[in-house]
Symmetry: C2
Subunit: 92 residues, 2 copies
């Protein structure tokens, strides 16, 4: 059972949709879509588009949120929220 | 067992944090934080700030994502992602 990961950033959403589809096509049974900060809403868009438009046999099996502490360029500590959305192929 | 709801939009994040804290203080054992589109990342921030900074006895017990179809002013149909994050007081 192979597992893939897609990090969602600031590129067009369809790039990440395609990356996810590619990982499933190459044999992944599970792909984890990860994002931080403002990209979180885009990660949800990616999961919803994959599931509704392209792969109806894929389910959201887990969603986790968390906080990461980053250091800014000025050395200040900044908290940033994170999300991990797990998509899995349904058993046939 | 009383249940509250907080809709996260474009106001400062602390407004929604305070709204959530108020609902717990007024006796809610469960508060559902809801958001659409770009506000989704802010809803995650609200849940994380409530849990990490103010109410360590509150857990994220469920996160759901979905898609809603809205009609734009031009009558065009637009899909928008949604999130619902459920915070619940732990049993003492």
């Amino acid at each position: 059972m192979s597992e893939g990961t897609v990090f969602v950033g600031t590129k067009p959403i369809m790039n990440y949709v395609l990356a996810t589809l590619t990982q499933f096509n190459e044999g992944a049974t599970k792909v984890v879509i990860k994002a931080r900060g403002k990209a979180i809403s885009r990660a949800v868009d990616v999961a919803e588009i994959v599931r509704n438009r392209f792969l109806p046999n894929v389910d959201v099996t887990s969603i986790k949120i968390d906080t990461e502490e980053l250091e800014s360029e000025q050395g200040r500590k900044v908290n940033v929220s994170t999300i991990e959305i797990t998509l899995e192929k349904k058993e046939e």
